[in-house]
Symmetry: C2
């Protein structure tokens, strides 16, 4: 999500306990930071944060970490989460570049990664920026636990097809694949803001889950 | 393709050299039956045969085998191929049940398998009949050469998603995946009769290629 830089963001984020300004300091200690031993689920590219906030409300026994690159996006997501009356304690916001995720999370520290409507970077020369490019999959493999999963959804047909190729080439098992999530029998789908808007416009949503197979 | 049984079919097929009435007799000798050493490409479920006939015309150095279960469908496809003035010698028609393919082809005898718009069998209890069900993939693995490939296309989103799961679970590598074949940069696509009709109606076509990874 691209937004104009908001000058109020730094001040707000500095004061909000939900925001972790130097996340690399918590590497290997994320569960501790939540004061419990619950599994860690991360969303890379949380946008306005509606998805992860709703999940945090529904699943109090899971620790959620929402990440965005841009400070201003985190600021908006965080403010929105704070507007929520049921505001959960199991949700934190970080801002960092996903390519640095191995500096933020210890090997095997994450139980689940959500990738929702990631930027498709349609031009081939920017394929390396797609969050399902194999260089990212290698990093996810590192931070995910042995049973860890990636849950990925997108309306973008090009990105979805590309991602299937990448997961396949890197030996991930794909399951619960659908090319039309809202017509499928998948239960408990939480829509992102983007998903609501684009599915109303008639776009179908693709989704899959991927697990790294051990050799 | 479901058709009413045509009483003219048996007589026609018995006389046509292009039709092989007892294909199991040629197991392991298909190249010989074409009088050359060219690779064997097979289409399972050739329908009206437009796709495989066009390929046979375009690629004289490949031996094509079109298969259908029903005699009447083969009769129609064969008659149509024979109407073609450029009628190629590198095309044969068989009728047998795909589940018997290991009785027809020797281990490693086939270089490529085409699955085009296979019956989606949408009800779960009939999943075992889908031509990308893992029990079929095991048979294809047997008849395909070491470098053999499956080229699969369908407009059916459910069947495509299911097939990705099956290929993935059975450790096939998927490449050249697209959820919109006609808008992709794939070159040289030959449309089936079904594909022409349904893409004109606005359906997008999904396609992938799969190769069995050796352990």
């Amino acid at each position: 999500m691209r937004l104009r830089r908001d000058p109020r963001a730094p001040g707000y984020l500095a004061k909000d306990e939900r925001v972790v300004p130097n996340p690399e300091e918590f590497k290997g200690r994320w569960k501790k930071s939540f004061d419990n031993d619950n599994p860690i689920h991360v969303e890379f590219g949380c946008g306005k944060g509606g998805f992860i906030t709703e999940l945090a409300i529904r699943n109090p026994a899971i620790n959620y970490i929402a990440a965005e690159k841009a400070e201003t996006v985190v600021y908006k997501a965080c403010k929105k989460a704070n507007d929520n009356e049921e505001i959960p304690n199991n949700l934190k916001f970080l801002y960092f570049d996903v390519s640095d995720c191995m500096a933020i999370f210890e090997k095997g520290e994450v139980e689940q990664i959500y990738l929702n409507f990631s930027d498709p970077w349609p031009k081939k020369r920017y394929a390396y920026r797609r969050l399902t490019h194999r260089s990212f999959l290698e990093k996810y493999e590192y931070i995910l636990s042995e049973t860890g999963e990636i849950h990925f959804k997108t309306d973008n047909k090009g990105l979805f097809a590309y991602s299937i190729e990448e997961f396949s080439a890197m030996n991930w098992l794909m399951k619960n694949v659908t090319l039309d999530l809202h017509q499928s029998d998948f239960e408990g789908n939480v829509m992102t803001e983007y998903e609501k808007k684009f599915s109303e416009m008639g776009y179908t949503i693709n989704r899959l889950e991927a697990i790294k197979l051990k050799k």
